[in-house]
Structures are given as C-alpha cells and as structure tokens.
Amino acid sequence: MNYNHFVIPFAAGALILFAILVARYAYWIVQMPRSDRRKAWTGFFRPAFFRSLWEVFRESLIHKKVFRVNAMLGWMHMSFAFGWFLLIIFGTIETKFHKHKVFNMPYDPIFLRYFEHDEKQFFFSQGFSFVMDFLLLILLAATFLAIFKRIRSRFFGMKRTTRLILGDRIALYSLWSVFPLRFLAESFTSGLHHNGGFLTGTAGIAFSSFLPLQQLELPAWWAYSSALFVFFVFLPFSRYNHIPTELFLIFLRNCGIKTSGRFSGFTEFEIYSCSRCGICIDKCQLAEVRPQQTQAVYFLQQIRRNILQPQTTFNCLQCGRCTEFCPVGIKADTLRSIKRTDYSLEYGFSYKYAEEKIPPPALPVDVGYFAGCMTHLTPSIKIAMENIMKKAGVRYHFIDRDGTVCCGRPLSLSGNERQARLLMRENKYIIRNSGIKTLVTSCPICLRVFRESYDLGIEVLHHSQYLLRLAEEGKISLKPTDAVFAYHDPCDLGRGLKIYEEPRMLIARCGELLHTQQEKNEALCCGNSLADFVTPEPRKQEMRDHTLQELLLNNPDALITACPLCKKSLTYGSNVPVKDIAELVAENQ
C-alpha cells in the first residue's frame, strides 16, 4: 500500500468536507415539506433524473449560461470545472490500470506520481501521462485567468466583481495554489524519476538542473496536500459551496419542486447554491446609481451569514433581471419577497371601507375592464381603451370606473401579505359578482396579482393581448403608418408574465418596430418600481434616464410601453412622446 504522512491533510480535509455536507444536506432534506420530499424520492425513477444529469453536464461542467454572459468568463469557469472533473476521472482510471486492481485508496490518484515511478509500461501509460499533463496545463491556464480576472475584471465582461469575505478569500487563494503546487510537486518527482508527461517531464528536467530536488520533493507534495486540505475545509463556508449544492438544486428543480411562499429546505439549497460570481451585480440597475451592496449576491450572502438588514431586503426593484441572468438559476427576487414577509406589520392597515362597498348588480356582458390605480393616474389610457372598445362594438363593463380598492400587489410587495388579502377579497368579490367571463386590465401589476394570487377562474388578459385578439378577429382594423417605434418591456408584463410578443405584434401592425440593445427578458426597468422602498427619487431618475437613453438610441418617433406606471415614469424624462399601446391602437384605428 502506498503511504506517506503527507496524504493525511488531503484525507482529513476530504473527510471533514464530506461529514459537513452530509449533515447539512440531511438537515435540509428533513426541513423540506413532505410533498416536496416525495417528489424528490420519486424523481430518481423518472425522466427528471436524466434531465438533471444533462443539466448538470451543461451548467455545472460546461457553464453554458456563463458563456452567454462572456466567452472568456465561460472559458475560465469551464476549464476549472470540466478540467478538474476530467482530471479526477482520468486520474482514477489511470490508477486502476496502473495497479491492475479495481479498488485503491482514495488518495492514490491524487499522489500517483509520487508513489509510482517505475518504468513498467502498462496499457496506454504514455497516453495517460499526456492527457493528465494536458488537463493540468488547462487548469494552470485557468488559474492564471482567475488571477488576472481579480486584477482586470473588465477583460471578462464584468464591470464589478463581488466583494469577498474572509472565508471566500482563503478558499480562493487555496484554490489558486492547488494546481501550481501540483505542477511543482509532479515536476520535482519527474525530475528525479523521469515519470512525467510533456509538461511535468520537461519542467522536471529544467528544475533538476538548478534545484536540489531531493530536498524539495517532499515539501512540495506536503504543500499540495495542505492546499487541498485548506480548500476542502473552507469549501462549505465559502462561495465554493455551490459546487456540491448546485447538483442537488438542479435535481430538485427538475423534480418539479419550486420556491413556495416560505423558506424551507429547498430554499436553503437555493441560497447555498449561489456561487457569488457577481454576474447579477452588473445586471442590477441599482449598482449604477447607488454604492450600497444590495444586489442578489449580497442579499444571499447576508442570509447565509445571518446578518440580513431590512435595508437590503427592501432596496430592490424586483425587476427580475438578476434571476434572468443567474447562471445557477436562483430565484433571488422570489426569495426576497418571501424575506419581506418577516417584516410584516402586526397592526395597521385595516381597510374598513373595503368591506362596505356594495358591488353593482351583474350586467349581461362577457368582458370586464379593470383599469387599476395607475391607469386612473394616466387617464389617456383608459379613454383610449374605451374608444377602441366602443368602436369595435364590444359590450363591456368598466369595473372600476369610479375607482376601486387597489389590487393588493403593492402592499404584498411590502411584505404585508395578510393586509393585502383584505384588498384582494374585496376585488375578488366585485369581479366575481359582475358575472364577466373575460377580465381585461391595463396594468401589468394588477394582471400579475390577478393571475398569481386571485384564483378567479375566468380568463384574465392584459389589454395588449385583448387588443391583438380584437385585431385578429377583425373587430378593429389598424392603419399602418411609416412611423418608427421603440418598445419598452414592463418588468411585470415581460419577465413577470412572459408577455413579450403581443404588444410587439400590435406595434408592427401600426408602424415599424425598432430593436433595442436589451429587450424582452433582458429589458431594463423604468426605475419607478413599486417594489423598491429605499432608493431616493433622484437616483430613480438616474435609472430612468439610463433606460431612456438606451430605448431612444435609434431615434424612434414615439416610445411605446404597456404599463401605466412605466408610462408615467418615462414621460417625465423623455424628449419623444411616450404612449401606451392602447393609445397607439386608438390613434391608428
């Protein structure tokens, strides 16, 4: 049996890592709701298992989503993950061939070059030493790129990188040293025994010409083993915890488990899967205007360290861009809205008036129009909607013509879910009593809460969807003009409800639609999101101006949006007219 004292740090580190991870995952699995646990167990025997394997290969090893952000960044991550993975696989196979045995000590592949330096030729031995050296070269290049990224992150397409805490730093530095130390140790051994490949062999000859390798060989192996020890011990307490945790997250997600209304074992898997890569920082519009560390990465870091500030929880636009770009697919915006309920108020907000309103008697119409608070603030939209529906000959019922209570979403965004339910109950009562079959709303904020929390049992449409339907049915005819338009995707309508195409198809019927740099799921927020409670007004205006700058880059004749709040917000800063999709349709009817 191969043994030297230097294998102890590696073995001890690996054991500690294994023990911590097993204990932690067992605890989280116990914490998961019973129904989720059942889904996970049955997931092993369903296609979900193979889907997960494919996703693990695509995301955990190849890092496809990181490649989408930046090719250099993707290459660095891929060479670390896939390179190390192959090094382990080939090292294991090499050891088994070498020893002609199926079982070997777990540290044998790691320190093989030290223990086995006889010249006996086994099957494909030259090939193995070439592959192992080639993989080591890839990993050394990745280490170089990682160090270079710390100095010049812009080269990797990142304006800002995550500010690291102590645990992260120690793990990072030990990771940086693992592969150079392996290279040195293998080269030194090769210099003495000539058992290296093209890289370590050549380096060994070179080192032996000027270094006392007899004395240096053992310390180098000790250093390599110790670096692994430090990395393994710090891994569960650092950003690198995402490496094992992400595998579980991918599997659980493929089993159909979702982030529900509260924190559970599954959310723990989500929180600990954050690799703190910092991609969300650049994508967060708040990073441009405020120095505060409020982005998804810091939010999750604060939860993990148990130092979460209310300031961080409430300083978020909930635009969902971080979730959209997250390479791990963590639903940071959902986690944040769950966390907000921790700060919900016990008293306050009673809405006695919401109980006294008597809804109007049911009318014999199928379509109900709900303008919403924000549409009442921008009356041109509701006037346009009424004109269109009158012209199209649609018989409809204007549910909140004289104003009604709010839909409840602004309140639930503040974490006061219980109070929001009072408002929802009232609206639900009014809508149900009106006897309509299709509910049309102009406000994406209302639309989202109607669809996600109301459970109305009728069709709920955004007015852009409804207008497109009217146009396709031939009830309204649109005159094409030669005007060019830019379209701003509202966050709740786009990323929230995935309604991207309907407004675009309507605009295309009225004129030419310009493409913008970041559109559809990458669209920027107008800055005035109701989810943000902390950002001061001047900073919001900065965000709005930045969004406008991008939208108006190609000099459109008008800027079209599909949300009254976005319209109100963008109008203040725009030098071209900002119109709602309903206004555009009404003008071109």
């Binding site: 008293y347 006695k352 608070c373 009442h376 709010c406 408002l423 007004e537």
Partner: protein, 111 residues
C-alpha cells in the same frame, strides 16, 4: 354649563414645544425625504383611498409634523400603498416608505 346661544370650540392652537415629536423624528431618521414635503396637495388629488376616506399623504405629513399622532394612527389605517402619491410628488418624497415607517413607529412607541 349655561347656554349663551353659541358654542365654544376647544383650543386648537398647536404648541410646537409641547408636541410629541418622537414619531416624526423616527420617520425622519429612516426616511429623510419626508422633510421635503411642501403640503401642495398633489398627492391628495390622486389618492386611491381618498375616494372612500379623508386620507391623503398631505394630511398625514402635516399631522405628523404637528405631533397629532392619534389622528395619524387612525387615518393611516386606510392607506393601500398603491404609490400614486409617490409618482406625482413634485418634491420626490418617498411616500410609501414614509407610510411604512410611520406604521412601524406607531408599533414601536405604542401610540
């Protein structure tokens, strides 16, 4: 009391030295933009809850500054946080956070 054919109103003078400024100070520390309010009333014109009640952000702001916390407590119950006041405010007061902090302050000082 003898009826002289007229009624006497209770004294409505506000003694700024004696008013309870705790709540205002609490809100101001957490959301300084409340100090920008000029009581113009634009918010009152848009208030969704104003359809049903006497609520307006202008009133809340004014009452808070006068230390009339009991009326603030009663009025603020009706706010739906819809955010229209924030969008129209010419001075950029972060009204929704002000309302949230007031409710928190009321809880804290048990007013």
């Amino acid at each position: 009391m003898k009826n002289f054919g007229y009624t006497r109103h209770t004294d409505r003078q506000i003694d700024f030295d004696a008013t309870d400024k705790r709540l205002y100070q609490f809100v101001f520390d957490l959301e300084p933009s409340i100090n920008l309010c000029i009581f113009c009333g634009t918010c009152a014109a848009t208030c969704s809850a104003g359809h049903f009640t006497t609520l307006s952000f202008r009133r809340i702001s004014l009452l808070l500054r006068r230390g009339m916390n009991d009326i603030v407590k009663k009025e603020i119950e009706n706010c739906m946080l819809c955010g229209k006041c924030q969008l129209v405010c010419p001075k950029g007061v972060n009204t929704r956070n002000v309302i949230l902090q007031i409710v928190k302050g009321i809880e804290k000082y048990e007013l």
